[in-house]
C-alpha cells in the first residue's frame, strides 16, 4: 500500500514539477524505468508465490536499474547503444509479460 501510494505521489510530483531530464541521463532513464517496472511486477508475483521479501525487492530493484543503465552505457561506448537498448527492452518486456501472466494465473486462476 505504502509503495503504491509512493508510486502515485512520484507520478504527481513529476507531473507538477515538470523537471527536465538532464542530457547525460537521457539514454538511461527509459531503460531504468522499464527495469524498475520489471522489478515491481516481479515483486507482486513474489507476493502471490508467497516468497516476497522486502529486502530482496529493494536489492533487485536497485540492481535492475543499475545493470540496465550499465548495459546501455556499455553499448553506447561500444557503438551498439541503440541495438543493446532494444535488446534490454525486449528482455525486460518478456520478463514483465511472464510475471504478469503468473500474477494473472494467481489472481484469476486463468
Amino acid at each position: 500500500m505504502i509503495p503504491a501510494l509512493g508510486l502515485l505521489a512520484g507520478v504527481l510530483i513529476g507531473i507538477f514539477l515538470q523537471p527536465d531530464v538532464p542530457v547525460w541521463l537521457q539514454p538511461y532513464l527509459p531503460i531504468a524505468v522499464i527495469a524498475a517496472l520489471d522489478a515491481v511486477f516481479g515483486a507482486v508475483r513474489a507476493v502471490l508465490d508467497g516468497i516476497f521479501n522486502d529486502k530482496v525487492f529493494v536489492v533487485s530493484f536497485l540492481s535492475n536499474v543499475v545493470v540496465a543503465a550499465f548495459i546501455v552505457f556499455l553499448g553506447d561506448k561500444l557503438g551498439v547503444g541503440t541495438q543493446l537498448s532494444t535488446g534490454v527492452v525486449v528482455v525486460l518486456g518478456v520478463r514483465i509479460f511472464s510475471n504478469v501472466a503468473s500474477i494473472r494465473r494467481h489472481l484469476f486462476s486463468a
Binding site: 500500500m1 505504502i2 509503495p3 503504491a4 501510494l5 509512493g6 508510486l7 502515485l8 505521489a9 512520484g10 507520478v11 504527481l12 510530483i13 513529476g14 507531473i15 515538470q18 523537471p19 527536465d20 531530464v21 537521457q26 532513464l29 527509459p30 531504468a32 524505468v33 524498475a36 517496472l37 522489478a39 515491481v40 516481479g42 515483486a43 507482486v44 508475483r45 513474489a46 507476493v47 502471490l48 508465490d49 508467497g50 516468497i51 516476497f52 521479501n53 522486502d54 529486502k55 530482496v56 525487492f57 529493494v58 536489492v59 533487485s60 530493484f61 536497485l62 520478463r95 511472464s98 510475471n99 501472466a101 503468473s102 494465473r105 494467481h106 489472481l107 484469476f108 486462476s109
Partner: protein, 268 residues
C-alpha cells in the same frame, strides 16, 4: 513462462504470515491485500521511496518524450523539415544577395546619386500605388455585382474587399472610388457610400493582383460569391491579363503625424 525469476530464487527468508506457494483465486487476493497493508518496517519505507522515485522517473520520461524535439522524429519527417529549412535558406540567401547588391550600388561613388534617385522614384511609385495617388496597371480582374434589388450592404462590400486583400489584391477601385487604407463604407439611400461618395449598384470592383488566386478566393464556400448568391445576385468575375486602376485618392494634408527619420539601411 513460469520459470522463477532471479528475484524469487534469491529469496531465502519466508514471511510466516504469508501462505505457501501457488495460491490462487480468493486466497491470492487475500494475500495481496494482506501484504498491501501498511507496515512501518524500514524495508517497506525504502520500497516506498523507490516506488516514489520510479513514479517520478516515469512521469518525467513520459513528459520529456511527449514534448521531445527533433531527435524522436522519423526519417521522412526529418527530411521534410530539412527540405523546408534549405528552401527557406536559399530564399533568404537570394534576398540577401539582392539587398547587398543594392547596397553596394548605393554605396559605390559612381552613379550613386542616380541610383539613389532611381531607388527613391521606385519607392515613390510603389508607395503611390499603395496610397492610391497614382494610377496602377497590371494583371487582375473585374468583379461585377449587379444587385438589382438593393440587398448588398456596406458590410458585404467590406467583406468582399477584405477577401480580395487577403488574396493579394494590390490596387482596388470600386465604381469610381479608389480604395485605400482609410476608405470607409456606409449604407446609403440607393446604394453604398464609399468614402463619402455614393456608389449605386451595379458595384464594379477593378482589382490588380493575381487573377487566379483572387477568383479562387471569391469562390470558396461561404465566400463572396456564395454570400452574394444568398442575397439574390450573382457576382461576375472576369480575369484580365492587363487592366488599369484609374481612380485616384486625394490624400488629406496631415496635420499631426510627422514621419520619424529611421536609420537608413544604406548607412550601415
Amino acid at each position: 513462462m513460469s520459470e522463477p525469476t532471479p528475484d524469487e530464487r534469491a529469496t531465502e527468508v519466508h514471511d510466516p504470515t504469508l501462505p505457501e506457494r501457488g495460491v490462487t483465486g480468493r486466497r491470492a487476493w487475500q494475500t495481496l491485500f494482506r501484504v498491501a497493508r501498511p507496515r512501518a518496517t524500514r524495508a517497506n519505507i525504502f520500497a516506498a521511496l523507490l516506488a516514489l522515485a520510479l513514479g517520478f522517473a516515469l512521469a518525467t520520461q513520459v513528459r520529456s518524450t511527449t514534448n521531445a524535439g527533433l531527435e524522436t522524429l522519423r526519417e521522412p519527417e526529418l527530411i521534410r523539415i530539412l527540405d523546408d529549412v534549405n528552401e527557406e535558406d536559399q530564399r533568404l540567401q537570394a534576398e540577401q544577395r539582392t539587398l547587398e547588391a543594392q547596397r553596394d550600388r548605393l554605396l559605390s561613388g559612381q552613379g550613386s546619386s542616380d541610383e539613389a534617385v532611381r531607388s527613391a522614384q521606385e519607392r515613390a511609385r510603389s508607395l503611390g500605388v499603395l496610397a492610391g495617388t497614382t494610377t496602377a496597371s497590371g494583371p487582375g480582374m473585374t468583379m461585377t455585382i449587379p444587385d438589382p434589388s438593393h440587398q448588398v450592404t456596406a458590410a458585404n462590400l467590406l467583406d468582399a474587399l477584405e477577401e480580395l486583400r487577403d488574396a493579394g489584391a494590390e490596387a482596388v477601385q470600386i465604381g469610381s472610388v479608389r480604395v485605400v487604407a482609410s476608405t470607409h463604407f456606409t449604407d446609403a439611400e440607393g446604394g453604398v457610400s464609399i468614402s463619402g461618395k455614393l456608389v449605386a449598384p451595379p458595384y464594379v470592383f477593378t482589382v490588380i493582383g493575381d487573377p487566379a488566386t483572387m477568383s479562387a478566393a471569391m469562390d470558396i464556400p461561404g465566400g463572396v460569391r456564395e454570400s452574394m448568391r444568398r442575397l439574390g445576385t450573382e457576382a461576375t468575375i472576369v480575369s484580365k491579363r492587363s487592366l488599369t486602376v484609374t481612380a485616384l485618392h486625394q490624400p488629406m494634408a496631415r496635420r499631426y503625424a510627422r514621419p520619424v527619420p529611421s536609420p537608413s539601411p544604406t548607412s550601415s
